[in-house]
């Protein structure tokens, strides 16, 4: 994937510049000296009047972003609904802007939020600090944290720009159950990471 966005190296056929061959040219201080030259300038403006318009009538009209645009984060789920986040804080560690705050906690039989031992109990991203560099995404060992293309993050108070776990969690799709619930029968956390779990099993539904 990442090779697609690497800038391709094109041979432009330029001569390498020899420093010794560069000559300094005195800057002409004379402005537009003649009416003809001024007309020439306005011709550029005139031509542009007939070009296709790039302006978008945002917010009435919204254009999709580039597919890999760095927007708001999302905390993903396993196909059965369990959270992928294990609360390891590697995202917080990687963050150059100190925008992420995580507290881990133990999964128990009664309260299982993710496969394995640990889940993220508190997860906050401060969008006043986030610089959307994506290092957190690279650091995430479980692919729990990814970025969406959502860019409408403006708000009118500082506190509302600190996104909590509930704001960041991916929605439940078909085949997903709202945690806490047990792991898929006869599967362990490694199976989850390998993608062996494809949806929930009826036994995972817990009566509350």
């Amino acid at each position: 994937m990442s090779d697609q966005i690497e800038p391709t190296r094109r041979d432009l056929g330029l001569e390498p510049i020899q420093i010794s061959s560069v000559e300094s040219v005195p800057v002409s201080k004379n402005g537009a000296s003649s009416f003809g030259k001024q007309l020439l300038g306005f011709w550029v403006t005139f031509k542009a009047m007939f070009k296709k318009v790039n302006t978008v009538q945002y917010p009435e009209v919204k254009e999709p972003t580039a597919p890999r645009f760095h927007g708001r984060h999302q905390l993903n789920r396993h196909p059965d609904g369990l959270e992928k986040c294990i609360g390891c804080e590697l995202c917080a560690w990687a963050c150059p802007a100190d925008a992420i705050y995580v507290e881990g906690a133990s999964n128990t039989e009664e309260n299982r939020m993710s496969p394995g031992e640990r889940y993220g109990k508190v997860y906050q991203i401060n969008y006043l600090r986030c610089i959307f560099c994506g290092l957190c995404i690279e650091a995430c060992p479980t692919r729990a944290l990814t970025m969406t293309n959502e860019y409408e993050l403006a708000d009118n108070s500082r506190s509302s720009l600190i996104y909590e776990k509930a704001d960041l969690l991916a929605p439940l799709r078909d085949g997903m159950l709202m945690p806490p619930h047990p792991m898929y029968p006869d599967m362990n956390d490694t199976n989850y990471y390998k993608g062996d779990v494809l949806g929930f099993h009826p036994s995972q539904e817990v009566q509350t």
Binding site: I86, C88, A92, W93, E103, S106, G116, E117, P141
Partner: protein
């Protein structure tokens, strides 16, 4: 070690650098001295070498003859003519280390993201510095069930273990609690516990700290933080008089863990589980946040500081006031109390002792302890140790570790004079002198000590009249040193600060005019009260009789007092100003309550039993004020300023006072009490507090409480036969005040005695029996 002692030096060459080190030094240590770091896991300077992990392989040649293979530098002592090449200069050593690392990682799960050690893990770090980066292993890793509780506070993840045996060696060699061991062989080798005996050691936390991987982790810190979240500050332990230096790790204003700090002359690198894990009391819901004032209806209401100060001043209004300081204060706070009593209240009625006390003890403290300068080094050098009214493992665990170190190293002779043989004394292989409670003085007198011996006297020695006198005369005859080791962290400092009726700060005797004038001049007051103050028992009695009408009470639990009922009555009767961190029995009865800062919320210092200052800085920012600050405000409000606005100013003033160099107080011996006659089924009660019990500073620590020793009644085989019980039967111990029913344990104890823990789950002696030791109780089968 004195400088005059000649040490054989050996010169070796490491990576081309020559260095001379004492004979017997390990190669890895010699390299450290040169600043050459050889990677290692199993090596620990305070544990015996074992060579288990093989990470420290180096190339060695001696006098031109090279070892055929790389050798573990942590097990080989230096030899003359040795040439060592570490990974820095020898490609063979470098490759060998890489290979070992690859082997270590074969079965390691690499679950660093969920591992508590991640970020501060020697295995992570050294895998980066000396590892391959990639593994050639393509098989299936060995797996174990993750994690298992080897005690309620220590979790074991066997997959992560690299079998360095640090934990098992620590438990065996340092703590003498060999409850964990390496089981099985080969790839299945694992740390295991005995089936019948959980890992209930008072020192188990150290194994978590020295584990070089995440195999042993603490239950209370599980998944709480990463090292980069934590703000660490060096601190001192507030739990006992051992004086451990600690490291307090705080995340967002909340203490998450405490680790043993390094101090070679005190706690080396260890601490006890109480010091490590008992800190939730700071964040308990019972913490006081605002001053409270009792209103006209008799209810405590939250009040502002000026209101509370005004209420305190109005309440004190010329009344005869006494001060009960409590044993948990810092030196600076104690000095504040001491100065406040003398300057603002114009009285010497102040006492830091809130426990069974005696006048004999007060004289002992003023005449002997205040001038003595014992130290851990004296234990290291002693030819024998005598324990009087003192259970090192329960009451000062680091003293226990230090004695045990010498017992293990050179079979130091330890003699314990007690009624019951404790587990700690068994580990110290003590010569147990079994006496009936109260009969200690006679046993002390016949001990044979030399001038190189040390007598460790606990605070419980005051519970047996004449014991301290016997100790003093024994020390005088033999030239042995006396060390008084109280249980609480603040008592030694409070003694130096003069928070006691017969001493002013800096060992100035109250009844010495010169000393009083000296201090009055330093404080800039006209005169100081000249009459020796009342002791804590006398203060309580006087308050009950109405001679003392107001009490200023620090961190005092009435149920620690030798006569708790009278203490509660006194608190009901008098006008009480309480300085407390949490709601307590005292604040319930107080008229004005000031909330004070806990230890992590202030700076200051403790004085450990050696008289060594253990200073600490503020670890957690809070709005709470120290006792000293509140006393200072109160003194200002009383128009008798003590001029100690900050901890720094108090420390500076106390330092500048210095110790009194004039004549000290004289010790006059007290006679022992007569023998107690016992009827049928009667026994003399004896007890001590266990390290892990229901103390108020351990409140809310479920995991810690899980490793407390079982609460039992201990009686002798003879008595067990007489009342017809065997181990595990329920036995009732009762007196006129109440009774305690507990399972019995038949053990080595004096026939006339019955032992119960003083304040453990199901056995709160002062609350139920009203006494803790020395009195007659009835022991019958339930």
């Amino acid at each position: 070690m004195t400088t005059a002692e000649l040490v054989d030096m050996v010169t070796v060459v490491i990576d081309g650098f020559e260095i001379s080190v004492p004979k017997g030094t390990l190669v890895i240590r010699a390299a450290e001295k040169l600043g050459i770091q050889i990677p290692r896991f199993c090596d620990h300077p305070l544990l015996d070498p074992v060579g288990a992990c093989r990470q420290c392989l180096v190339d060695i040649e001696i006098n031109g003859r090279a070892f055929p293979k790389p050798q573990a530098s942590c097990t080989i002592p230096v030899e003359p003519g040795m040439i060592v090449k570490t990974q820095l200069t020898s490609p063979v050593a470098e490759k060998a280390q890489r290979g070992v690392m690859e082997f270590l990682l074969i079965n390691h799960p690499l679950d660093c993201p969920v591992c508590d050690k991640g970020g501060e893990c020697p295995l992570q770090n050294q895998a980066m510095s000396t590892g391959q980066g990639e593994s050639r292993f393509e098989g299936v890793k060995r797996t174990f069930e993750k994690p298992i509780n080897i005690s309620s506070q220590v979790l074991l993840d066997r997959e992560r273990c690299i079998l360095c045996a640090r934990c098992t060696r620590f438990s065996d060699q340092i703590a003498s609690d060999p409850f964990i061991t390496l089981n099985e062989r080969g790839a299945l080798q694992q740390v295991g516990i005995y089936e019948k005996q959980p890992f209930e050691s008072y020192f188990s936390g150290n194994t978590v700290q020295i584990c070089p991987v995440g195999a042993l982790t603490g239950a209370s810190y599980r998944f709480r933080a990463r090292p980069f979240d934590l703000v660490s500050s060096p601190s001192a332990c507030e739990h006992c008089a051992s004086g451990c230096s600690l490291r307090t790790d705080v995340r967002r204003g909340k203490t998450l863990r405490r680790l043993a700090g390094e101090d070679a002359s005190v706690n080396e690198e260890w601490n006890c589980d109480k010091g490590r894990w008992a800190f939730k009391y700071i964040t308990s819901a019972e913490r006081l946040t605002h001053p409270l004032v009792r209103d006209s209806a008799g209810d405590l209401q939250e009040a502002s500081w000026p209101e509370a100060l005004a209420a305190a001043v109005a309440g004190l209004g010329g009344k005869q006031t006494a001060v009960l300081v409590g044993g948990r204060v810092t030196v600076e706070d104690a000095y504040g109390y001491s100065k406040f009593a003398r300057v603002a209240l114009k009285t010497n009625d102040i006492d830091f002792r809130n426990r069974a006390t005696s006048d004999e003890e007060r004289e002992f403290l003023a005449a002997v302890v205040i001038k003595s300068t014992p130290s851990y080094l004296d234990i290291d050098r002693a030819d024998s140790v005598l324990l009087v009214g003192f259970e090192p493992e329960e009451e000062s665990p680091i003293v226990f570790l230090r004695i045990h170190k010498q017992v293990r190293k050179r079979a130091l002779k330890v003699t314990a004079i007690a009624s019951k043989l404790s587990i700690g004394n068994e580990k110290l292989k003590s010569n147990f002198v079994c006496v009936a409670p109260g009969a200690e003085p006679a046993a002390i007198k016949v001990q044979e000590l030399t001038s190189k011996s040390i007598i460790l006297v606990g605070e419980r020695a005051s519970e047996s009249a004449g014991s301290l006198s016997a100790v003093v005369s024994l020390a005088k005859e033999s030239g042995a040193k006396i060390a008084w080791i109280p249980r609480r962290a603040g008592e030694r400092g409070a003694l130096s600060a003069g928070a006691i009726g017969n001493l002013l700060p800096g060992a100035r005797p109250v009844n010495d005019t010169e000393a009083r004038v000296d201090l009055a001049a330093a404080w800039g007051v006209d005169s100081l009260p000249s009459q020796s103050g009342l002791s804590s028992d006398e203060i309580v009695n006087a308050a009950n009789e109405g001679q003392i009408e107001a009490l200023i009470v620090g961190g005092v639990d009435p149920l620690d007092s030798a006569n708790s009922q009278q203490m509660l009555n006194a608190l009901k009767k008098a006008f009480v100003i309480s300085l407390e961190i949490s709601h307590s029995d005292v604040t319930q009865l107080a008229d004005v309550v000031f909330p004070v800062a806990a230890v992590v919320e202030k700076s200051g210092s403790f004085m450990n039993w050696e008289g060594r200052s253990r200073s600490f800085d503020l670890a957690v920012e809070s709005f709470q004020r120290s006792d000293l600050r509140i006393l200072s405000m109160l003194a200002d409000a009383l128009n008798a300023p003590i001029n100690l606005p900050t901890v720094k100013s108090a420390a500076k003033e106390f330092d500048s006072l210095g110790m009194w160099d004039g004549a000290g107080a004289e010790f006059t011996s007290a006679p022992p009490s007569g023998p107690i006659s016992l009827g049928n089924n009667e026994a003399i009660l004896t007890s001590w507090r266990r390290l892990l019990d229901e103390g108020s500073l351990q409140a809310g620590e479920e995991n810690l409480a899980g490793t407390a020793r079982k609460t039992v009644v201990v009686i002798s085989p003879t008595r067990a036969q007489a009342i017809g019980v065997v181990d595990g039967d329920q036995v009732s111990v009762s007196n006129a005040h109440g009774s305690v029913v507990l399972p019995v344990l038949v053990e080595s104890i004096h026939d006339d005695a019955v032992w119960l823990p003083r304040n453990s789950r199901g056995s709160h002696l002062l609350a139920t029996l009203g006494v803790a030791s020395g009195s007659v109780v009835t022991v019958v089968k339930e």
